[in-house]
Subunit: 444 residues, 2 copies
């Protein structure tokens, strides 16, 4: 024997967060234990077939099992790292002996190279290839909204101190942003620096040519400013449309506001508008799923070091044909359209058709940003605009903004879920002990 | 008349950098002036047809021309921003009158709403829809390499102080990274902080869960460290394989090195290996263009706030079927494979086939990183690994690393090109004046 099988408990347990359900070994033993195993051939490859008490069967290829051996030689549990080299993996590996331990609910395998591996039933139940349950974070479904459903059902307001102090509130807020695409946080101190504090909660911030965070000022006496800085009307747009790889989460914190009228932000659910377009005008929808106009920004306001240029379809689909990103921004839209000229006019009409849906009054939600407000916006889904200010008295608007990748946001959310799940599990086991004692107490 | 046509010179000129060639008005007048224009209908839409002296004709739809009016009412030249609202654009706009100015090489249009616009011939020549020339930055072709062609033809070394001080050297280096995917900079002071100084030259840095830049240490007395920190052998991999949206440019600066043997980095051109696989084993290639294994990282080493999780195809193609990104990292590869179980073994064999090509000795380039060396690596194209250290004396390796998005890198490169082009143009015009004076001098 090459190795005695040593496995550290966290070798498997730390993967629980990748799965919608992660039964404990006790639960598996009680409800659906391993009934039997058989080494066999399938499609010319050696596999292990596992049968569960429920009658379900699952085939596990030997090379996959060997690749995922979690013994301390093959896997570093604390780092969650494979220690073996893929080039050393024997793709013809076969099972010499296999035994089931009914008490531990484990399967022990000795391989043809005499290496030994041990697999836990709950991990095997969760790793079932295309039968694997959906990822708990990725499978969060967006809830489409219009103005009235947002106001009546979906809109949620959070208290800044709760977001900072409570993981429960934080997770709730993260879920809200994933589902609805818009979050309002109130009671943020009206001073710089809270974007970085938020970042510490929701995920690492992503720099742009404007810096790590941006200070956006507008003064009531500016006649015309830069699109980021002026007080004029801003049509509906997504931010950073001028980079290919635009940021998915946009956060803005209002530190001071103009003394005057107007300046309300308005928001619309771009996924819903795109879906409506697909139903009512599929030809326009199709046109907008290809790159049409290119985008650019000469970022000279901050420094004169960058000239952004992007090629994005207004509506981006994933491989399943679902809308994943809208990229729309008229003020940065260039003249470059790499299309046959005969398609140009239809493309303009397609964009107009989409915008007609986006600008419907019953689709847009307005909010007048007050000092202390922080808004989180799904920048690949929502479009936002701002009405012009008018009747202003001498004053200044100051926003601190920050951008986050969905990668960064999701990675943080997964960790928060992991911590909450662990806490709940430990509370439950404490509670069941407490309940146990109590019932003992009653029996006495 | 609603407006006298006012156009600021930079309204058009600032777009020159988006085009491979941008003739001056003088050049157009001399070589290929406007021969005639005609307002007409095409496919039911109103267009302007322009004929050039060369006999070439180009049709410009009226709505496109009106949308790109560069008068001071419609366009802010300094910000390069459209001031009009797309919702106000009349898609049925037509030409009332059109005149050509042969001296200025401009076309003046009065529209049916009495708005007036002016278009320059060079801008029109550059904006020809699918006849538009390729973008000068995006069209840079990768030069595929193996160990010998890299060493003999492609590998370039730059001096740190030149990269910092000279835009010519900087652009040369940027071009090298785009073409070859690997750059060695020597003579960087062996101290922290030069990653941010480099960032000031090549583009804004992108934070990760490891921070804005990362300090990577390894000590000769560590038995096993984290994959980022240990001294063990590291198989070929790309960095940040555990996020969906991995960073395209990876930079590392060697501040101190282990006193001992081994520890060489090795690099391979993943695009070439993928191309070779496509030729020799198209079925394996196809399999790897779909998501296979999911990736993850529990980023506890830095802080315990993130749990990364990614779903990427090992080989990512663009819409044209070209390889744009390789995502390979065995130590972070998870057991989650959302495939029919019958495809699992073929997927393992496909990965092995790709790796056999990647690990060919005549494909890999080695470099022993010395204090003062900085390497820039195309992280979507190259795979890198590191041999193990051995026979070490008490010592520490210290690398400072940073990550950049291609968006950020390209945007900076475009600006550097823009500055160099302008400088060259102004040098040429000075030179021609100087030459003019000289020839006058000779005549006298």
């Amino acid at each position: 024997m090459e190795n005695p099988v040593k496995i550290e408990p966290m070798a498997f347990e730390d993967e629980a967060v990748l799965h919608a359900k992660w039964p404990s070994i006790d639960e598996v033993r009680a409800s659906n234990p391993i009934k039997g195993v058989a080494a066999k051939s399938e499609g010319g490859d050696r596999v292990l077939e596992v049968e569960w008490a429920s009658g379900e069967r699952q085939v596990y290829p030997c090379m996959w099992l060997r690749d995922h051996c979690r013994c301390t030689i093959c896997f570093h549990a604390e780092h969650q790292t494979r220690l073996t080299d893929f080039m050393e993996l024997d793709l013809n590996i076969d099972i010499k002996t296999v035994t089931v331990n009914d008490v531990d609910q484990t399967i022990a395998i000795t391989w043809t190279d005499d290496h030994q591996s041990l697999y836990y039933a709950n991990w095997l139940l969760c790793n079932r290839f295309d039968q694997t349950e959906a990822d708990p974070i990725r499978s969060i479904e967006p809830a489409y909204w219009d103005a009235s459903t947002l106001e009546n059902d979906h809109m949620r307001t959070f208290k800044y101190s709760d977001v900072i102090d409570s993981d429960h509130v934080l997770y709730d807020m993260q879920m809200q942003l994933k589902r609805v695409g818009l979050v309002l946080i109130q009671g943020t101190p009206a001073e710089k620096g809270h974007m970085m504090k938020l970042s510490d909660r929701i995920g690492y911030i992503c720099g742009t040519s404007y810096g790590t965070t941006s200070q956006i000022y507008g003064s009531s006496d500016w006649a015309f400013g830069h699109p980021s800085y002026g007080l004029e009307y801003r049509p509906l747009h997504s931010d950073y449309s001028f980079i290919d790889d635009s940021h998915g989460v946009f956060a803005m914190h209002c530190i001071s506001q103009i003394d005057g009228k107007g300046g309300e932000y308005f928001f619309v659910d771009g996924y819903k508008a795109a879906q409506d377009l697909q139903k009512t005008n599929p030809e326009a929808f199709q046109r907008l799923t290809k790159p049409c106009w290119e985008g650019r920004v000469k970022a000279w306001v901050v420094n004169d070091k960058h000239y952004h240029h992007s090629v994005s379809a207004p509506i981006k689909l994933n491989e399943a044909g679902e809308v994943t990103k809208l990229t729309l921004c008229d003020f940065w839209r260039t003249s470059v359209m790499r299309l046959p000229v005969g398609e140009v006019c239809d493309t303009y009409r397609a964009l107009r058709a989409l915008k007609d849906l986006l600008y419907r009054k019953d689709h847009t939600f307005c909010h007048n940003l007050q000092p202390g407000d922080m808004m989180l916006i799904h920048n690949h889904r929502l479009l936002h605009g701002r009405k012009d200010y008018h009747d202003t008295k001498p004053s200044t608007v100051h926003l601190e903004t920050g951008y986050f990748k969905w990668d960064s946001f999701d990675t943080r959310m997964r960790k928060v879920k992991m911590n909450l799940d662990k806490k709940e599990k430990s509370n439950n086991s404490t509670a069941s002990k407490v309940n146990g004692h109590q019932s003992n107490g009653i029996q006495r």
